[in-house]
């Protein structure tokens, strides 16, 4: 019986970490590698022959690293080779010479993965180093490693008076396929404008980006030669200077290019606002003012509350004001309007309606029952609310035993994700009022009391296991279990590892099975993308506690 590999968890982070391990740190960012450099054990060369014959360890692989954009050789790249038995974690590494060439000696026969890294080349944050699999044999052909140059977005940020704006934070948001959907995701590329307003965000793979200028606490004065003029402040904006994310202009970055994005942002008058905070609860925090912009917020400021009074400077707009009690009860007031100086603003904070979660489990051997918190907690499920559209926003997390539900959820549209439970448990149903949250989104409306989320778990889950061919030692594979539902699909996602997969906790029922190259490449949540593949899918029918064995063929995703 083959060793069961842990099911892949589908996040970009774990993808990167897993790849990092298999390449002995090669695709780690420099910072990560630095952190790990002290912890790593010396690598061991694997013995790729498992039989008793003495291994032939006199084989060599040669190759060359080139820049895909210019075709020029890349000197000084770190090139590493990993043999097929990656659980043994071997790596030999070398630096390509001035003509981009490299050579590895003393290798044994078998499959190996060769990859290269160099600053300014390769898609590091996606965990996709330039690399290729080779079969190490005598007389193996030279390997060509192609490295994509990364690009940069640079520019100058000025005020409406064309003076440079210094110290403004910039963040890049990239359009990615996550969980089978296209989403805008903040990526770890940031910059701050320098004393001349200039910024530069480098190391960006070819992609579509949105540029966000964070809120800055600087204030300016509004008119020359006027004593004590009104102060002005800057809110968060998206390139080329809009408050609403949906109005932002995306920046298309092609490989190795540098795109200039100069823009000007206007300061807004800040009004002196003071007043009282009223609440039935025992407020035990500063009050935080969030200005509404599109489906997000573009200005934030907090104020201390003393003897029920606060004082703050705010731009004009509609604000949501939040605070909390010592026991963690979220308080909020919506629709607070600021349009001028106001010494008498009354902010009435009320407890925010939480979204209660009602969890119950069904046993295949007994009737439906409510359970003690300890029993439910032991199942290991958690729920997450993730915003479905617009600017990336906060997500909310809940697990049994924490509280009786989600607290302080801002209005918006959310996908409800049930993570876990492991083993034989599965989520039989996930509902809110009349909405089936397994296939529909949850809408949280300002001021309305949301329906509780009802989760029913059942313990007679089925399992699917099988193979995916052709098996690549290194490339990630996504396995989808699809149940067509009306116009959409209900999908469970897993991963294959070295050509094998195993998925537990599967809801009994009929499924179509598919395997795709890569992780997060296909927008499988979009029926228009997925449905053309379904005619070629494997059909299975899973009974309670059933186990199915399936052999799948890998669909390329063409990326």
């Amino acid at each position: 019986m083959h060793e069961v590999k842990p099911q892949m968890v589908r996040t970009a982070t774990t993808h990167l970490l897993r790849f990092g391990v298999c390449l002995m740190g090669l695709c780690l960012t420099l910072a990560e590698a630095r952190q790990q450099s002290q912890a790593q054990e010396p690598a061991q060369v694997s013995d790729s022959s498992a039989n008793s014959k003495p291994a032939d360890n006199t084989l060599s692989v040669t190759g060359m690293v080139v820049n895909t954009l210019t075709g020029e050789p890349v000197r000084g790249a770190v090139v590493a080779i990993n043999t097929a038995q990656i659980s043994r974690q071997i790596a030999l590494s070398t630096l390509s010479d001035n003509s981009g060439h490299f050579q590895f000696n003393g290798l044994t026969e078998g499959r190996a993965f060769i990859s290269a890294i160099k600053p300014g080349l390769g898609n590091r944050f996606r965990g996709q180093p330039a690399g290729t699999s080779v079969q190490v044999t005598r007389n193996v052909s030279p390997v060509l490693l192609k490295m994509d140059p990364t690009g940069a977005i640079f520019g100058r940020l000025t005020g409406s008076d064309e003076q440079p704006l210094e110290g403004f934070p910039l963040q890049v948001i990239s359009k990615q396929t996550v969980g089978g959907k296209q989403q805008w995701v903040p990526v770890p590329f940031r910059a701050t404008t320098d004393d001349d307003g200039n910024f530069r965000i480098a190391g960006l793979p070819a992609d579509t980006y949105c540029l966000q200028v964070g809120q800055n606490q600087q204030t300016t004065l509004s008119g020359r030669g006027v004593p004590n003029p009104q102060e002005q402040g800057y809110a968060e904006v998206f390139y080329p200077g809009v408050a609403d994310f949906n109005s932002a202009t995306p920046i298309e970055l092609t490989g190795g290019r540098e795109v200039e994005a100069n823009f000007s942002i206007a300061a807004e008058p800040l009004y002196e606002v003071s007043g009282i905070v009223t609440t039935q609860e025992n407020l035990n925090s500063p009050v935080e003012f969030f200005r509404k912009a599109g489906d997000g917020n573009d200005f934030f400021q907090s104020a201390m509350v003393q003897d029920g009074r606060f004082q703050i400077k705010l731009p004009a707009g509609y604000f949501r004001v939040v605070g909390s009690t010592a026991t963690g009860i979220q308080l909020a007031a919506s629709g607070v309007v600021v349009s001028s100086d106001n010494p008498n603003l009354n902010v009435a904070l009320r407890p925010v309606s939480g979204i209660r979660v009602e969890l119950q489990r069904e046993s295949s051997s007994a009737s439906t029952q409510r359970n003690t918190p300890e029993q439910l907690r032991s199942i290991g499920i958690n729920l997450q609310l993730v915003r479905t559209a617009g600017a990336p926003g906060a997500s909310y997390w809940w697990a049994p035993g924490q509280s009786d539900g989600f607290q302080g959820v801002a209005p918006g549209v959310y996908t409800v994700q049930a993570n876990g439970p492991p083993g034989t448990w599965y989520v039989k149903s996930l509902r809110s009022g009349g909405i089936d949250l397994l296939s529909e989104d949850l809408t949280v409306v300002e001021g309305a009391q949301p329906q509780p989320i009802e989760v029913t778990l059942r313990d007679d889950a089925a399992s699917v296991r099988g193979t995916v061919a052709p098996a690549d030692d290194m490339a990630p594979v996504t396995v989808l279990l699809v149940q067509p539902r009306g116009t959409g699909n209900r999908i469970k996602v897993g991963g294959a590892f070295q050509g094998k997969f195993e998925m537990d906790g599967v809801t009994p029922g009929d499924y179509l099975l598919l395997a795709f190259e890569g992780e997060d490449r296909l927008q499988y949540e979009n029926p228009e993308v997925l449905n053309p593949y379904l005619s070629k899918a494997e059909h299975i029918s899973l009974q309670p506690h059933g186990i199915a064995n399936v052999n799948l063929s890998l669909f390329p995703t063409g990326r």
């Binding site: 002995m24 740190g25 090669l26 780690l28 420099l30 590698a33 630095r34 790990q36 450099s37 002290q38 790593q40 010396p42 690598a43 061991q44 060369v45 000197r75 000084g76 770190v78 590493a80 071997i90 790596a91 030999l92 590494s93 070398t94 630096l95 000696n105 003393g106 160099k118 600053p119 300014g120 940069a152 008076d161 003076q163 440079p164 210094e166 320098d194 004393d195 001349d196 530069r200 480098a202 190391g203 300016t220 004065l221 008119g223 020359r224 030669g225 006027v226 004593p227 004590n228 003029p229």
Partner: protein, 537 residues
């Protein structure tokens, strides 16, 4: 030439009855003027100018943007001293006639000039450059340190002024730098440094191991690796100075720390740093591995002087540091170096200590740029970590805001002269510091040709100045020539005025010997407030 260059008229007034207030304040006053560039003289439109009362300097009274011809005007002011502050793009926030920590307050009142001021804003300089390797490829993530050589502490010292990193193209930029003399230093490692650890396994070819096992020595402008060959440069106001670097990777040296894990219950951690101009600089390229059961190896070192900082965990938490000169691959026994004798003591004050948060005792050798700090606990006790303290004479300061002047200093294990102790490497030292409760204040006015003289440096010089550096007091005269010297310990002093002397070593009395000889001493008694006049030469 005048025979007497500085006149003293020391008038004792009763404490609390300081100056005569202006009788019947005649209504409201105004501060007005224009902002100009101190370099070009051009008017600066749109500069933000504000005023606040000297006694409430954090509370802005009025502010405005200057007009198109640089003008500003603040009306409706009561008599008093005001801080005038200005800033604009390219001109960091600064006070009127600012010199380091001092500036001239604008004094408003009957007969005083507070209008038509010319506020000369000093433009910021900046230092920029590019760091490349021996193949002319950019070195990203290099740390660039800027050190300033500055006499504002009394003697010339070199201290860290700023720090930044290079970008993906190897460029760095240090903005908002005031004029002065500077050194630039770069600490970096080859980008593939983190992979050297991986490449160190036994199956790598020797050539591959050697290719990865390289390091960049710390490099100073203009591209040298020993401090004696480093060049300082002068940054003028508003200037952009370019300091480029080409780093050369050299084979790295390995330092093996033996007997490192002697006590299983006391695991230890070692970290190497270097000291440049008295500042500890972390070395990004060092790679630490367990060489064998009882030895640790640190690779990635260039030849040079290092400080090994060793931290013990477990039941006893200890830190100590020792210096080592690495010239080749070498071994070092971390326990062979004996810990330096302790320096500890207690701060007391009659009637009880009232220390500010984070109060500390400072040992400072101003001539040699050596300093050591120790925090003072709530019982007044302090203890230094003197492992790296160079023997010599150290002035003793207590840093705890106003009213933290040492009244008496005594020691066992060290010779005390005035407010200075002689530290040797042989004896533990116990210090006893008594803060004074008898401090006095000297108010004065600087005059030239009987006219108030603004912007001059006023220095209160104690007797035996070399041994009593903590007793110096300084101020800058305000727009009406007045100044105040706070926290003066009773004793004999001379008051020196230094015009345009903000770049001189004002504590080096050998420079002013002839003038000092002509200045009569004054005797300051406990708990008094004095009024004096000094004439500026």
């Amino acid at each position: 030439m005048l025979r007497r260059t500085i006149l003293f008229s020391l008038v004792l007034v009763l404490a609390g009855a300081c100056r005569l207030a202006a009788q019947n304040p005649p209504g409201k006053f105004r501060i007005s003027g224009k902002t100009v560039s101190a370099v070009t003289g051009q008017v600066l439109a749109g500069a933000e100018v504000s005023i606040s009362k000297v006694e409430q300097r954090d509370s802005v009274l009025q502010k405005m943007l200057t007009t198109d011809d640089g003008g500003f005007s603040f009306a409706g002011l009561e008599p008093g001293k005001y801080l005038l502050i200005g800033q604009r793009n390219g001109f960091s926030r600064q006070s009127y006639e600012q010199h380091g920590a001092f500036s001239s307050a604008v004094v408003v009142g009957p007969g005083l000039v507070s209008e038509s001021l010319v506020f000369r804003l000093r433009p910021d300089g900046r230092i920029v450059g590019k760091v490349v390797d021996e193949n002319q490829e950019p070195v990203p993530n290099a740390t660039v340190y800027l050190f300033r050589s500055d006499p504002s502490g009394g003697f010339k010292q070199i201290f860290q002024r700023a720090e930044t990193s290079t970008d993906d193209r190897g460029y760095y930029r240090l903005p908002h730098i005031e004029s002065g003399r500077y050194y630039v230093l770069v600490s970096a490692q080859p980008w593939f440094g983190p992979f050297a650890q991986v490449s160190a396994n036994g199956n790598q070819s020797g050539a591959d191991k050697a290719a990865f096992d390289v390091t960049f020595p710390v490099t100073l402008y203009p591209g040298v690796t020993d401090i004696g060959s480093a060049s300082s440069f002068v940054l003028e106001e508003g200037q952009e100075f370019t300091a480029d670097f080409a780093l050369n990777a050299i084979p790295s040296l390995h330092l093996r720390l033996n007997h490192f894990n002697n006590s299983p219950g006391q695991p230890r951690n070692a970290r190497l740093s270097t000291r440049w101009f008295g500042t500890e600089i972390y070395l990004p390229g060092q790679r630490e591995t367990q060489a064998d059961e009882n030895s640790r190896e640190i690779a990635g070192l260039a030849p040079g002087q290092y400080v090994i900082n060793i931290e013990s965990y477990g039941a006893v938490r200890e830190k100590h540091s020792t210096a080592v000169n690495v010239t080749a691959d070498m071994e070092f026994d971390v326990d062979a170096a004996l810990p330096a004798p302790s320096i500890r003591g207690v701060v007391q004050k009659d009637g009880g200590l009232n220390l500010t948060p984070r109060a500390f005792v400072l040992l400072w050798n101003l001539r040699r740029n050596e300093a050591l700090e120790a925090p003072i606990d709530n019982k007044g006790q302090f203890e230094f970590s003197p492992d790296l303290l160079v023997p010599g004479n150290y002035s003793v300061f207590v840093a705890s805001g106003l009213n933290s002047t040492i009244g008496s200093l005594s020691a066992t294990g060290a010779q005390v002269e005035g407010q200075t102790i002689r530290v040797t490497a042989s004896n533990p030292i116990q210090l006893r510091i008594e803060l004074s409760k008898s401090l006095s204040t000297i108010n004065g006015i600087a005059r030239r040709n009987d006219e108030p003289f603004a912007g001059v440096m006023i220095v209160l010089v104690p007797q035996s100045p070399e041994k009593n550096l903590p007793l110096f007091r300084r101020d800058q005269s305000d727009s009406d020539g007045t100044f105040t010297l706070h926290d003066v310990l009773p004793g004999r002093y001379k008051i020196l005025t230094i015009e345009d002397g903000w770049d001189v070593e004002w504590a080096d009395m050998s420079r002013f010997k002839a003038r000092l000889d002509r200045i009569p001493s004054i005797e300051v008694a406990p708990n008094r407030t004095y009024q004096t006049t000094v004439n500026v030469e």
